[in-house]
Every structure is written in C-alpha cells, then in structure tokens.
C-alpha cells in the first residue's frame, strides 16, 4: 500500500497522470500544493473517484477551496506524518 504524493496541478505537470497510471489498486493519493486543483476538473474527479484520497488541508484553505472540496478527506501535517507511517512507503511524483 503506497501513498502517492502529488504536489503540482495536472495542467502544469504530468505527476498526477503518472501516479494514476502506475498506482496499484489498494494505493492511496495525497494531493498538496497546486495538486489540489485537480479535483475541480471532472476528468480528475473521475480518475480518482474509486481511490483512497487525501488533500492537504492548509493548501486547500489557502486556495479558497474548502467549501468546493468539502466531500474530500482533508488532513493536516500531523495526519500526513501518520499516513506516511501507515502506508508502506510514500512516492512523491
């Protein structure tokens, strides 16, 4: 079980596309930085809909997305540390 960490918007970089393409079925995703913008687009909402997904709360708040992304699990840095340990490894794309 891997935590795939994506820090960039999918329009800026192929990190999310690569992570989705090569992730295993039981893997999770953490979007941080401009990575959280992916969930404003249908394409990426669908690509990630059956995935265990976390968003970094401070980055969501900073970008004015708290209400729009209310249905997703937002985690703080303490919870990020916990998730890094719960998962077998963290791959930052």
């Amino acid at each position: 079980m891997i935590l795939h960490h994506i820090q960039t918007s999918p329009n800026q970089d192929n990190a999310l596309s690569c992570a989705v393409h090569y992730a295993g079925e039981t893997d999770s995703f953490l979007l941080s930085g401009n990575g959280v913008y992916a969930l404003l687009e249908d394409k990426w909402q669908q690509a990630l809909q059956d995935r265990r997904l976390f968003l970094l709360k401070s980055d969501v708040q900073a970008r004015g997305l708290t209400k729009r992304l209310v249905e997703y699990a937002c985690i703080d840095h303490n919870e990020f540390v916990q998730q890094a340990l719960i998962h077998k490894k963290v791959i930052t794309w």
């Binding site: 891997i2 192929n14 990190a15 596309s17 690569c18 393409h21 090569y22 992730a23 295993g24 490894k89 791959i91 930052t92 794309w93």
Partner: protein
Amino acid sequence: MKKLTIVFRRAPHGTPHGREALDLALLSASFEQDVSLIFVDEGVLHLMPEQQPETAGAKDYIATFGALELYDIETVLACQSSLARFGLANSELTISVERVTSNNITEQLQAADEVLVF
C-alpha cells in the same frame, strides 16, 4: 541494503532532473544498494539514440548510462506504452532495457523499499 527504485519521468536536458537522478542511481549503487531504474512518460526520451547534449550547452550524462552494468544496476525497465507514444516502440535505444507493461511497473513500485521520482 535497500531496494531503491529511481523513476525517470521527465525529458532529458530541458531540466536537470534526469542528470541528478542518474547521479543518485550510481552513487546509491556504489553504496551497495539494490538499485533499479524505470523510464516512464517523457523519461523514455533518455533512451533516444544519437543524442549530442553538448550542442545545447548541457553535460553529456546520457553517455554515463553506459556505466550502469559496471555499477551492477541490472534492472532497467522502460514502459512500452510510453515508448510507443514517442515513436520508440521498435527503435534501437541507447542502452539495453527491458520493455515492460504498466502492470510490470506497478509491481516494481510495490516491491521496492523506496522510490525516488525525478
């Protein structure tokens, strides 16, 4: 000793990612780690033959890929579909790689102790 997998996902020369990934790969191998490399997405462009990086003011680190065997880096995978996307499906490549499916790459990522993406 850990199983380290280094992923090349970006094109060479335009950014230093590939060069610094290779530096890390060789250094890790010289520190007795079990190193494997994977080329995906535009990273497969590292495998394009006849590159001359110096003409664009870049260091010719591509030539250094020839040293992988000396460092005992034996697992070198390239994504078939990425190769096909850039017209490299049937081309000769700069180094000998195993052309694998996306599923093979997923398995390789799962099996590694740590994965570093460049």
